[in-house]
Amino acid sequence: MSNEATLHANVDVMVPHEIHHGEHHEIHHHHESFISKYVFSQDHKMIGKQFLITGMFWAVLGGLMSVLFRLQLGYPDSTFPWLEDLIGKWGKGGHISAEAYYALVTTHGTVLVFFVLTAGLSGTFANLLIPLQVGARDMASPFMNMLSYWFFFMASVVMLSSIFVETGPFSGGWTAYPPLSALGSASPGSKTGMDLWIIAMALFVVSSLLGGLNYIVTILNMRTKGMSMTRLPLTIWALFFTAVLGVLSFPVLLSGFILLIFDRNFGTSFYLSDIYVNGVGALPNEGGSAILFQHLFWFLGHPEVYIILLPAMGMVSEILATNARKPIFGYMAMVGSLFAIAILAFLVWAHHMFVTGLNPFLGSIFVLLTLLIAVPSAIKVFNWITTLWRGNIRFTPAMLFAIGFVSLFISGGLTGIWLGNSALDIHLHDTYFVIAHFHIVMGVASMFGMFAGIYHWFPKMYGKYLNNNLGYIHFWLTMIGAYLIFWPMHYEGLAGMPRRYYDYSAWESFKQFVELNRFISTVAMIVFAVQLLFLFNFFYSIFKGRKLTTQNPWGSNTLEWTTPINPGHGNWVGEIPEVYRWAYDYGKDGKDFIPQTTPVGADESTDH
C-alpha cells in the first residue's frame, strides 16, 4: 500500500469517527435507557464503575474468606457453632474442615489476585482514566470494552458458582499446579470445582485481552492534540505497560490451561508422569512434566505481579505530585523504570521455582535477573520520596494512602531481595516469610494504591466527595493493621513455619507461635471490619456525599478535571481541549498549578 493511500484511508476513517463521537452522542444523550446506561453501557466511565463495584464485591468475599481461615489458624482449638450455620458441612461442629480450609485459601488467592487486583484495579482505573487523561471521547472500541466487562462478569459468575458445588471449589492453591489440578481423583476440590475454576479463568483471560488491546490502542492512537507521549501523566504510562504485560503474558497462561484441560478430560499426559493415587492405583500417564505447567503458569504469574502493581505505582505518582504541589521528581526516570520493570517482568518467572526441580544453574541466572528489578524499583522509591521532599503536602486520604503505598512497597520490596536469592530460598520457600513478602509488596500495597485512586477520583466518578474523617480512620487502622498482620509473619517464616498448613499444633517447634497467630488473626478481623467502614463511606457518599462545586477539586493539572463535574458520554462538551505542557507544572513561576490546557507563556521555560 502506498503511503499516500494510507494517509487517504486514515483521514477517511479517523474523521467520521471523531464526528460520530462529538455530535452524535450529545444529541442522543437523553435517550439512553436504563439498560444501555447502567447495564450494557459502552461509556468507559460507567464500565470503570462496573469493574470497581464487581471488584469490591469480590474483595469483601475474598477478605471474608481470609477471616475464616485466619480463625482456624489463630484459634485451632476453639469451636464456633455459627460456622456450621454459615458454611454447613464445611464447618461441622463449629470447626472449619481441612478441605474447606484449603478451598478458602485457594479461592482467596485466585479472587484477590485476578478479580480484585487485576480486574478491580486496572479494569477500573484504565477504563476511567485513559480516555479522560489522554483527551479522548471514549475508548478506541467502546463495544469491545463492554464485552471486556461482561466476560469478567461471566468469569465471576462461574467462579462464584464453584463455591456452591457439592465437592467444593478448587482447593489446590491459586497456582493450580498439577497433578492436584489435573486429576479429579486427587482431592474433592479437583473435581467439578476445578472445572469451574478453569472455565472462569479462561473467561477472565478473554476479558483481559479485550480490555488490554483497547487500553494500548487508545493510548497510542487517541491522544488529543499536543498530548505527546512524554506529556502523558504517569498513570497512563503505568496503565500502558500494564496492558502490554497482560496482552503478552495471559495468552501463555491460556496455552497452559488448554493443555491442562486435555490432561483433565482427554487422557493426555502433558503434565503427568509416574503417578500413584491412593485408592485409585498407578496411573498409565507417562512422559509429561509438572514443571512444564509451572513454567507456563509463572510466565504469566510473574508479569501478573506487575500487572497488579504498576497501576498502583502510576496512580501513586500522580497523587503524590498533585498533593505535594510539586512536579513529580524524575519524570523520564519514572517512565524508564516502568519500562525496565515491564521488560524484566518477563525474565524472572523461574524464581518462583527455585526448589521445584529447576536446574540450579538456570536458577543462578534467574537470581541475577530478579535482583536487577531492585534497580528500577529503587529509582521509583527515591523519586517518590524526593517528590515529597519539601513539598507543600496536603494530607488528603488519597495522599495518605499513596504515602502508605510507598512505605509498604519499601518494606515488602526489601524482603524480595532475600527471596530472590536461590540459596536463601532453600530455607525461606513456602514459609510465612513468603506470605509476608508478597502480601505487603503486592497485595496490601496495591490495595493502598487502589484506595488512593478511589479517594482521589471518587469526585470524578460520582460528583461527590468521600467523607474525610471516615477516610482518615480507614487509613490509619488499615495501615497499622496491615503491618501488625504481616510483620510478625516474617519471624514465623524465618523460624521455618510452612505456609498452607491446616494445623500447626502437632509441631513442637511452632508452639511458640500460638499466641502470635492468635494476635494476627484478631488484627485481621479488625482490619476487615474497618474495610466495611470504607464500604459504608463509599455507598453512602454516592448518594448523600458532599457535592462537588468546582470542576477541579484538587487543583490538578490533568485533563480529566477540565470535564464537567458529571461528564456525559463523550466527556467534553464541544471540542476536546488541546494540550500544551506536561502534567506536572506545580509550583512553577509562583503559580500553584498550571493545567495541561494552559498555553505556554512567552517568558516560560519549555522543558516538557
Binding site: M1, N3, A5, T6, L7, A9, N10, D12, V13, M14, H17, V134, G135, A140, S141, L209, G212, L213, N214, I216, V217, T218, L220, N221, M222, R223, T224, K225, G226, M227, S228, M229, R231, V247, L248, S249, F250, P251, V252, L254, S255, G256, I258, L259, F262, F266, G267, T268, S269, F270, E286, G287, G288, S289, L292, H295, L296, F299, E578, V579
Partner: protein
C-alpha cells in the same frame, strides 16, 4: 515498527493523530497477533521441551506417509500429502494479498473473486486436515493413544499424538475462524458495505490475520513434520 518511527517525523507522536498512521482497528489487530503468537509460542516451546526431555520420538516420515485413495501396497509417500496442504495454504495467502490489493484499488469485483479463492483455499486446507486426522484416528492415534513406535523401535509415550492433535487442532481452529472472517468480509463486500465506507480497510485486517495463521502453520509444519 522501529523503522516506521525512525523515519516518521516526530510530530506524529504529538497527539491528535495516530503515530503509526493507522486506524485503531489495525493497531489492535497487530497487538492481538502478538498476543496470539505468544499462545502458539507457548504451545510449541512446551512441545519442544517435552520432546527434548523424552528419549525417542516417532519418525514423522513413517507416520505421515499416506494420502487419499493411495493404492493398497504402494510404496510409502512420506510428507507428500502435508506438502500439498502447505502449498494450498500458502497459495491462499497469495490470493489474500491480491484481494487486499484489489481493495486498495476499490475494485469490488477483484475483491470478491480473490476472497472466494482464499475461502476455497482455507476450506481445502481444513478438508485436508480432516482427512489426515481421520486417517490417523483409524490407525489408532488420538489424544492419549499413540500407535506409532519411536524411530528406534521402542515404545513411544503418548505425547507425540497429544501434542500433534492439540497444536494442529488449535491451528485448524484458527484457520476455521479465518475462513469465517473471510466469509463475513465477502458478504460485506457483496452488499457494497465497503463501497459505502469508501475503503476496504477491513479486508486488510482480515488479511493480516490470514497471513498470521499461514505463518504459524510454517512453524507448526516445521516442528511436527520436518524436525
Amino acid at each position: 515498527m522501529t523503522t516506521t518511527t525512525a523515519t516518521t517525523p516526530a510530530k506524529y507522536w504529538n497527539g491528535g493523530k495516530s503515530p503509526f498512521n493507522v486506524e485503531y482497528g489495525k493497531l489492535m489487530m497487530w497487538y492481538f497477533l502478538m498476543s496470539d503468537a505468544f499462545t502458539f509460542g507457548a504451545f510449541l516451546i512446551s512441545y519442544g521441551t517435552t520432546r527434548f526431555a523424552t528419549t525417542g520420538w516417532p519418525n514423522a516420515n513413517e507416520v505421515f506417509s499416506s494420502y487419499p485413495f493411495k493404492p493398497e501396497g504402494s510404496s510409502p509417500a512420506p510428507l507428500i500429502f502435508v506438502s500439498i496442504m502447505t502449498f494450498i495454504l500458502i497459495i491462499s495467502s497469495v490470493t489474500m494479498v491480491l484481494a487486499v490489493h484489489a481493495g486498495h484499488n476499490m475494485d469490488k469485483k477483484g475483491v470478491v473473486k480473490y476472497l472466494i479463492l482464499t475461502i476455497l483455499g482455507g476450506l481445502a486446507f481444513l478438508g485436508c486436515q480432516a482427512w489426515e486426522w481421520t486417517h490417523l484416528f483409524h490407525e489408532g492415534a488420538w489424544w492419549g493413544r499413540n500407535p506409532f513406535p519411536n524411530s528406534d523401535g521402542t515404545i513411544s509415550t503418548t505425547n507425540f499424538t497429544n501434542f500433534f492433535f492439540t497444536i494442529t487442532g488449535f491451528h485448524g481452529f484458527h484457520v476455521f475462524s479465518g475462513v469465517v472472517i473471510n466469509v463475513v468480509m465477502l458478504i460485506m463486500a457483496l452488499f457494497n458495505k465497503f463501497e459505502q465506507r469508501g475503503h476496504y480497510l477491513m479486508i486488510e485486517k482480515a488479511g493480516l490475520y490470514w497471513h498470521f495463521v499461514d505463518l504459524v502453520w510454517v512453524f507448526v509444519f516445521t516442528c511436527f513434520y520436518l524436525i
